[in-house]
Structures are given as C-alpha cells and as structure tokens.
C-alpha cells in the first residue's frame, strides 16, 4: 500500500525535477511512509502517558517563574546576534498573544492580522520621523490609533461569520499593504521609512540591542500577566462562551457583537504595541515586512503552541522564530516544512502541541 502511495507521489513530482529526483523521492518515500505510520502509532500510545506525567506536576504553577531567570540572563551569555533574535521573538510573542485573543479566545479567524501590526509600526514611524515625537509619547498614540483602526475595521466585518470573516480580514490586510505600498507621498511607498529614532529612557538612548531586549521583555511580561488576568475575567469568559457557541451565549445575555468588537480591538492593541517595538528596533519600516505570509506566520505561532493557551502561544512564537535561525542551512526548506507541518498538525493534533482538548474552532 505504501509503495503505491510512494509511486503515485513520485509520479506527481516527476515533471518538476526530472526522472532522477523522482526516483530518489520514490526510494525515500517507500522507507519514510511506513516509518511515519510507526511513529504516529507510537506517539498515539505515548501521549496519554505524557499527559498523566504532566498532571503529576504541582498544581500551583508559580514555580514556573524560575524560568524568568535564564530569560533575564540572555544578554549576558548570548552574543548580540542571539539577543537580536530573542528581541524579535519577544515582539512576535506580543503579536501572537494579541492574535490569540481574537482566534483563540473568541474563535474569529483573522487572516489579516498583519494589518494592525503594520498600522502600529507605520504610526510610530510617521509620528517619529514627520513630527519628531519621542518613543514614550508616540507609543501610546500609535497603540490607540491601531486599536481604533481595529475597532473601525471590525464594525462592518463582524456581521460575517467563519470563513467569510477570514476572507474579509485577509482583504483588509492586503488593502492596508497596497495602500502603504502605493501612497508614496505619505508612506514613501516601497522604499519604506528609515531614520526612526530608538527609544530613550531617563535621558539615555536605548541603542544597544541588549538594553532594548529588557524593554521588550518588560512588555512581554506585561502582556503575559494582562492576558492571564483577562482570560479569567468576565470579558474573557464571555469570549470563550462566544467561541464555543455564539447563539447559546447570546441567549445567556451576552451581547456577542459588543464582545467580539472588544476582542478585535484588544487584539489590535497588542499588534499596535508590537508594531511600535518592531519599528523602533529596526529603525526602518517598509511594506515588505507586512505581507500575507506574515499573517500566516503569526497564525501558525498561535496554532502550533496550542490555540487559546497563553503558555502554548509563547512557546509557538519562540519556536517559530528560533527554528529557522537554528536551521540556517535548511532555510530554503523552512516554508516547505511549515506548510507540511500545518497540514499534519491539523490532521493529527488540531488543538496544537500544548493545547487543551476543550477548544473547538467554531462550528
């Protein structure tokens, strides 16, 4: 059976790379397919054991704060390059936590989340380079702008559900990118905006990447705590209720429209913050950084770690930022692996690697 599958797939591959590559693929697949079946059987057997083992850990999760120590020590042990990647993963953690509010808690698939990230980054870039406003004033201003944008775009879009909502958000994302790319007089088009000032604190410029790292870590920890608090608040509960069953929750007296709006605006808030941090780190923004693929990447972070779980999302973001850096040589195959990974994850473990079983992704 697996030989037939291997032959079929190699045949499909044949025109793209010729006979030699196709026969190599055939041999590889004949070995790999039974192996994969074996691994999946073993995994299925091992998973319940792993879950019971995880259940043996202390209920009180506060001991996990020990993990903060190595995080804070990164700039002392790592080279600048490692710190740079760590800063980037911090920014992505904030972004992914923001998207997790919309997709994970409320169950609204957003395929254009990068639009808010872009609005945040461009707001800071424009406020800073055009009006000379400093980081600490421009940051709240851009975050408010992004939240507002999230609100305004959500009002019409939230009348839609499921797939349709996903496609409309994708459309918004693309329109934002096209506007940034074509409105030359305002955004300088594809050339982007350079010369963005780094933030300063108490008169000292935070120019060194290791200093900037602590700034980002501060915001990551802040977002982590706020997320944990919001998750258990009345609003968070309402979001989860909407995700599980919109009609039932509105019958229970939840104003679903309003709470969905809160969710989108709250998600946009974090994307705006992440955008600001990104612009201040790179000191340069251009439309190229805000493509559809970026939206997909953020979505992958949310899904891989475990949709709806704060810790899972953080792990997902760190893994997806660091993995390509570790696999430098295999970088060409990175997106190939991401595509395959998404499919296999959905087929074998739709709740994500560390996700909870009780999360259903809409109906």
């Amino acid at each position: 059976m697996s030989i037939v599958v291997a032959l079929w797939l190699s045949l499909l591959f044949l025109p793209f790379k010729g006979l030699k590559a196709a026969s190599v693929l055939f041999v590889v697949l004949t070995v790999a397919i039974p192996l994969m079946k074996l691994v999946s059987v073993l995994m299925r057997k091992a998973l319940p054991h792993l879950e019971t083992a995880a259940g043996l850990l202390p209920r009180d999760k506060r001991y996990l704060y020990v993990l903060l120590v190595p995080v804070l020590l990164v700039p002392f042990v790592g080279e600048d390059y490692v710190v740079d990647v760590a800063v980037l993963s911090g920014i992505y953690i904030i972004l992914a936590l923001g998207l997790n509010v919309v997709v994970g808690y409320t169950g609204l698939l957003n395929l254009g989340f990068v639009a808010y990230y872009a609005i945040g980054a461009y707001s800071y870039a424009l406020l800073n380079t055009r009006l000379g406003i400093g980081f600490w004033t421009a940051l709240p201003a851009s975050v408010v702008l992004t939240t507002l944008a999230g609100f305004l775009l959500a009002v019409p879009a939230l009348r839609l559900k499921g797939d349709y909502l996903a496609i409309v958000t994708l459309g918004f994302g693309e329109i934002v990118r096209l506007v940034l790319n074509n409105w030359d007089s305002f955004t300088r088009g594809p050339n982007g905006i350079s010369g963005i000032a780094p933030p300063s604190l108490a008169g000292a410029v935070i120019g060194k990447i290791s200093h900037y790292y602590y700034l980002v870590i501060f915001f990551v920890i802040l977002s982590f705590f706020i997320m944990r608090r919001v998750e258990d608040s009345k609003i968070g509960r309402a979001w989860i209720a909407i995700r599980e069953d919109g009609i039932a929750s509105s019958a229970m007296g939840i104003n679903t429209m309003l709470y969905k709006l809160y969710s989108v605006a709250f998600g946009a808030f974090w994307a705006g913050l992440a955008g600001c941090l990104f612009a201040a780190k790179m000191r340069f923004v251009s439309p190229e950084s805000f493509t559809f693929m970026e939206s997909v990447l953020i979505l992958c972070m949310v899904i891989i770690g475990g949709i709806g779980s704060v810790a899972g999302v953080i792990i997902g973001a760190v893994v997806l930022v660091f993995l390509p850096e570790v696999l430098r040589d295999a970088q060409m195959y990175r997106m190939l692996a991401v595509g395959c990974g998404l499919v296999f994850l959905m087929v074998f473990r739709p709740q994500g690697l560390f996700g909870r079983k009780d999360v259903s992704l809409g109906n």
């Binding site: 079929w8 797939l9 045949l11 499909l12 591959f13 025109p15 793209f16 790379k17 590559a21 169950g107 698939l109 019409p156 879009a157 009348r159 839609l160 499921g162 797939d163 349709y164 996903a166 496609i167 409309v168 994708l170 459309g171 918004f172 693309e174 329109i175 096209l178 506007v179 074509n182 009609i247 559809f292 693929m293 997909v296 979505l299 899904i303 060409m332 195959y333 997106m335 190939l336 991401v338 595509g339 395959c340 990974g341 998404l342 499919v343 994850l345 959905m346 087929v347 739709p350 259903s360 992704l361 809409g362 109906n363």
Partner: protein, 300 residues
C-alpha cells in the same frame, strides 16, 4: 479604447471564471474555502511550460504544433487533477468532521507547501512561456483581438458549457448536486459521498489547469506566487456571483475581469489588485449571498 479594454477584461474574466468554478464547486459540497486551489492553477501554468519544453525537445512541436498543444493541455489537466485528488485525500479527507477552521488552516498549509515546492524545484525566477502565436490576430469592430484572446474566451465558454451539462445532465452530476444539498441524506440514498467529493476536486483542478496554461501563454511569464493572487481574485468572483452557484461563478468571473480591466485603464492601475479585495469586502458586507446566490438558512 473602451472596446479594447472590454476584450481584455473578457479574456481575464473568463480565466477567473474557470478558476472560480473550482472554488464554488468545492464550497458547494464541502463548505470549505479551498485555499490551495490557486496553487493548482499555478501548477498548471508551470506544467504547461515544462511539457511544452519537453515536446519541443523531442521534436513533436516542430512535427505538429496543434497536436503538441492538445497533448500539453490533456497532460496538464491529468497532472493537476491528480494533484487535486491527492491534496483532498491527504489534507481534507481526514478533517471531514473536524471543526470548520481546521480544514481551512490545512488548506493554507497546502498552499504554502505547493508554492515553496515549485519555487525549490523550478527556481524563484520568472519562467517564460514560448510565444506560439505571436501577436497575430484579427479585427473585430475596429479593435485588435489576438487569436490567443479569442481562444481563451472560446475555450473557457466551452468548458463552462461542458460543466453545466455535466452537472445538470449526467448521473454523477446529479449525485454532486445531491451531496451539495445534504451529505448525510445522499449517503443514505446510496451515493458514495467520498467518490463524489473526489470527482469534484478532479474536475475543479482540471479547469484550473486549463486556466493556468492559457494564462501562461497569454502573459508569457509565470512565477511561483501567481497562484495566491489569482486564487483570491477567483474566490472573489465566486463570492460575487454567489458561492456554490455554477452560473454565479462564471458571471462573477467575467464581471470581475471587466471591472479590473476598466478600472486599471480609467481609474488607477496602481491599485489594480485592490479592486478585487474592495469588491469582495463590499459584496460580503452588503449582499453576502452574492448576486446569483441563495441565502443559506442558519441551522441551530
């Protein structure tokens, strides 16, 4: 000038319509936005170039050009249909009863995979489709219509007629309509639902393959990312006409092609790609069931 743009728009629109049919058929049956459908079209464009190159190398093109073209089309359709079939089996079939978003995310995964698969095997640079007909054409009401444009419009129209006849008049078509209405009921009546779904993917992919070859010949250049934007536009066309409706997809495709072509020449060509998104958003907000679609009832 106006007529010229209308002809260009019709050419473009009939291609969108061909791709949109694949979206609409799959959505009608599975309620799944098959995100990977645009990539099938891209595979078709590449396969057209690869196969034509192969036939030129073995001397068939020199021997008989029409034979070579027909063979290229037939083989491309076969390959792309096989791809569609395989994708459905691997990425969608295990998720038949999963929550709605799971197959959509899986489809995005397939789409990313196929783009990079083609980029890695065929290179990231543009591929050139050899010019077979040049710019030769004929005059139609004082405008130039190239033979290629005429061929695209005619072939698309034939394909749509064929599809309409297939769905309305054959037994398989009838079971497709039955499955689209109610999967459980259809299976109780002895229809093999999985087989019908496979047939849907095979036909949809075949149509996308033809669209891919024709576009590659029309523009002369293809790249591994053409599937994404074409897919979005075709999906817009499907939504515009009313997703799930076959005449709707044809109508939506032609309308979108005309809007894009006229918009690019009379409004702004920089925002050419934004029109599709704008139309999509406006239609979804104002009339989500599309121009020719039916309002679905909400099941509680």
């Amino acid at each position: 000038m106006l007529l010229q743009q209308v002809i260009n728009g019709l050419t473009l629109g009939s291609v969108y319509a061909l791709i949109a049919l694949g979206y609409t058929m799959v959505y009608g049956i599975l309620e799944l936005i098959n995100f990977a459908h645009g990539e099938i079209y891209m595979l078709g464009a590449y396969l057209g170039i690869i196969l034509l190159g192969f036939f030129t190398a073995v001397g068939l093109t020199a021997y008989s050009l029409p034979l070579a073209i027909v063979l290229v089309l037939v083989l491309t359709v076969m390959f792309c249909s096989s791809y569609g079939f395989t994708i459905e089996k691997i990425a969608y079939k295990p998720l038949r009863n999963a929550p709605r978003l799971s197959p959509l995310i899986s489809a995005i995964g397939v789409s990313i995979f196929l783009q990079n698969y083609v980029m890695l095997t065929q290179g990231a640079t543009d591929k050139v489709f050899p010019s077979l007909f040049g710019n030769s054409g004929f005059k139609f009401l004082s405008t130039n219509v190239t033979y290629l444009q005429a061929a695209i419009i005619v072939v698309s129209a034939l394909m749509m007629l064929f599809l309409q006849a297939f769905v309305m008049r054959t037994k398989t078509g009838k079971s497709m309509r039955a499955v689209a209405q109610d999967k459980t009921m259809a299976s109780l009546l002895g229809i093999n639902v999985d087989a019908v779904i496979s047939v849907t993917f095979v036909i949809g992919s075949g149509l996308a393959a033809i669209a891919g070859v024709m576009v590659a010949a029309y523009y002369g250049l293809v790249n591994y990312y053409i599937g994404y934007i074409a897919g979005i536009k075709a999906f817009t066309a499907a939504v515009l006409g009313g997703i799930g409706s076959i005449p709707g997809a044809m109508f939506g495709g032609v309308l979108l092609g005309l809007v894009e072509s006229l918009g690019a020449s009379y409004v702004s060509s920089e925002y050419k790609d934004a029109y599709a998104f704008l139309i999509l958003i406006v239609i979804l907000l104002v009339k989500p069931e599309g121009l020719l679609g039916k309002t679905p009832e909400e099941k509680i």
